[in-house]
Symmetry: C2
Subunit: 160 residues, 2 copies
């Protein structure tokens, strides 16, 4: 499109995001995830937490104690980054990090009673935040969305 052709375009068309971009699945995903991440991060920050905290605590509660490598596998956090997350959780006394007597390479991470209380709180906070995130969708649609996302994610983790 030349300058001259563009001249008789309505001002709106010149300022809005073109359809070509709005039709890209990858773009919609990125943008929505950016919003979602911000919403979740801000919500969790209000209770002095971050989303990795929740992932680790939930994994400990549901699957029991484990080494840092195990937790890394369960949560998807890289083992390089797990160090910092566990430092934060240990500072707040939500988990305990103790050397494994059976394998001195490992640490055994255990959730503390305080960690369990915190997890219950985070569960409530996250429920509220997800309700905000998915506000425009009714329950059936939320389910549908989760199904589609999960299928895509599973496909790409198997095919990794």
């Amino acid at each position: 499109m030349t300058r001259a052709e563009a001249a008789d375009m309505p001002d709106d068309a010149a300022r809005e995001t073109p359809d070509r971009l709005r039709r890209q699945a990858s773009r919609q995903l990125s943008q929505l995830t950016a919003r979602s991440d911000r919403l979740i991060n801000e919500g969790l920050a209000r209770v002095d937490a971050r989303k990795w905290h929740y992932a680790v605590l939930a994994s400990l509660q549901d699957c029991g104690p484990g080494s840092q490598a195990t937790l890394s596998g369960r949560t998807g956090i890289y083992r390089s980054d797990m160090v910092g997350v566990l430092n934060e959780l240990a500072e707040r006394e939500l988990v305990e990090r103790a050397p494994d007597p059976d394998d001195r390479r490992r640490n055994v991470i255990t959730i503390s009673p305080r960690g369990r209380r915190h997890l219950r709180r985070l569960d409530k906070v996250l429920d509220g935040l997800h309700d905000e995130l998915l506000a425009p969708l009714d329950p059936a649609e939320r389910d549908q969305l989760m199904r589609l996302l999960t299928r895509l994610l599973d496909h790409h983790t198997r095919t990794s």
Copy 2:
């Protein structure tokens, strides 16, 4: 869950991502977007491009030339980051950046013939990549997904 309770858990349960995490919409979104971004970035890198290049070129092609601020609005790229993107595009001679005679604060960005050719190529590449991204879904499901994502995104951009 105490250490003792966890002891009689099957090894699988101790290693897999717990349901509690897999049910989080925000988490599925993040993870899928990470995969998607990597897929797209790698695919575009093979033709010496990045996704912002596509966004800018497509916006120029579909809505005509504009200032950097206009492009920023159309593409969602921050004006701080737009500078670098336009430098890369100008280096490759895909766009032209000229001072606006009517308003000396502005630059007018125009797509070049070469940019138009490049855009056509990127369109094909991106079509292929999206096909890979959405491989497990049939056309109706892809449509359904886009509809849901768009509704959520629209809601959160209006309510911003």
